[in-house]
Symmetry: C2
Subunit: 135 residues, 2 copies
DNA sequence: TTGCTTCCTCTAGTGGCTAGAGGATCAAGC
DNA sequence: GCTTGATCCTCTAGCCACTAGAGGAAGCAA
C-alpha cells in the first residue's frame, strides 16, 4: 500500500499541508521518499493520522495527542495516563459547555429583546455595556 | 478621574498588555499622555474597555466588537446590525454546544469504560484509533 | 539611598494550522 | 513530442487574540 501525500490526505480527511505540519512537529514520523523525493505512506500512516484527527476533533491538544500516541506505541505501559488524559479532557469539555450555556442564555436575552429603533436604544449594546452579568 | 494603565486594567479586569494591544488594533482610542509619557485614562475608557471585555467573554470576535462599538458610538444609526451580530453569535454558540455535547458523550463512554491494565487494552486509545464515531 | 513597583517601547512566541511564492515533476490528451 | 493541469517539493509569512520578556526610565516608600 503506497500512498502519496494527497491520497493520504483524502484517506484520513485531513489537508495536505496539515500532514506536513504534523510531520514537522513530530506527530507523524518522517515517511520514506520515492526517487522523485515525494513522500510515500503506508496503511500505518493512515491509521495514525486518523487517530490524530479524531483526537483533535475531540479537542485534545497536540501535546495530549503526543502522549496518547506514545502510549499506543508502547502497549506494555500502564494506561492510567490515557484515562487521566481523557478525564481531564472530559472535565474541560464539561466546563466549556457550562460556560457556553451561560453565554447562550445571555445572548438569548439580548436577541429576544430586540429593538427596531436606533442603536441608542439597542438592547444588545446596552447588555454589553452594562455591568449586568459579571459571572 | 485620571487612571494609569494599571488602574484601568484593574477597573476593567483586563491585563495591562491587553490594553496596549487593544489600543494598537484600534479598539481603544489613543489616550492622552502625562508629562512623563504615561497613558492617562478616564471613566469613558473604563466603560469602553468593560464593553470590550464583556463582548469578548461572550465570544464576539474583535471584528464584531469593532462593529458594535461603532454602533454604540453612533447611536443614531439603526441597530439591526447589532441584532444580526448577536443572533449570529447565538447561533455559533448553539452549534458549539451541540458539538461539545457529542464530544462529551464520547468522552464519557471512554472514561467510564476504563481498563486498569496495559495500554494495549486501553479503551481510550481504542476509541480514538477506531473508526467508531465519524460524525 | 536602597529597593520595589509601575511604566515605556519593542520584539518574539503561543497553538494549530493556512496561504502563497516559486519551482519540479507527473499523467493525460492531441 | 508538446501542452495543459494537477500534484508535489521547500520555504516563508500570516491568522487570532493575546502573552512573555528584554532593556530601560521613572515614581514612591522606608
Amino acid at each position: 500500500m503506497n500512498l502519496s501525500i494527497g491520497l493520504l490526505a483524502k484517506a484520513a480527511d485531513v489537508k495536505v499541508p496539515t500532514i506536513r505540519f504534523y510531520e514537522e512537529i513530530g506527530l507523524l514520523p518522517e515517511p520514506r521518499r520515492a526517487a522523485n523525493d515525494r513522500r510515500v505512506y503506508d496503511a500505518d500512516a493512515v491509521r495514525r493520522l486518523a487517530f490524530i484527527r479524531h483526537a483533535r476533533q475531540l479537542g485534545f491538544s497536540v501535546e495530549a495527542i503526543r502522549n496518547l500516541l506514545d502510549l499506543s506505541d508502547n502497549p506494555e505501559r500502564p494506561c492510567g495516563e490515557a484515562n487521566a488524559l481523557a478525564s481531564r479532557q472530559l472535565h474541560d469539555v464539561e466546563t466549556k459547555i457550562a460556560q457556553l450555556e451561560t453565554l447562550r442564555s445571555e445572548l438569548r436575552r439580548m436577541v429576544t429583546a430586540t429593538c427596531d429603533g436606533r442603536a441608542a436604544d439597542c438592547r444588545v449594546i446596552e447588555a454589553l455595556a452594562g455591568p449586568s452579568a459579571d459571572a
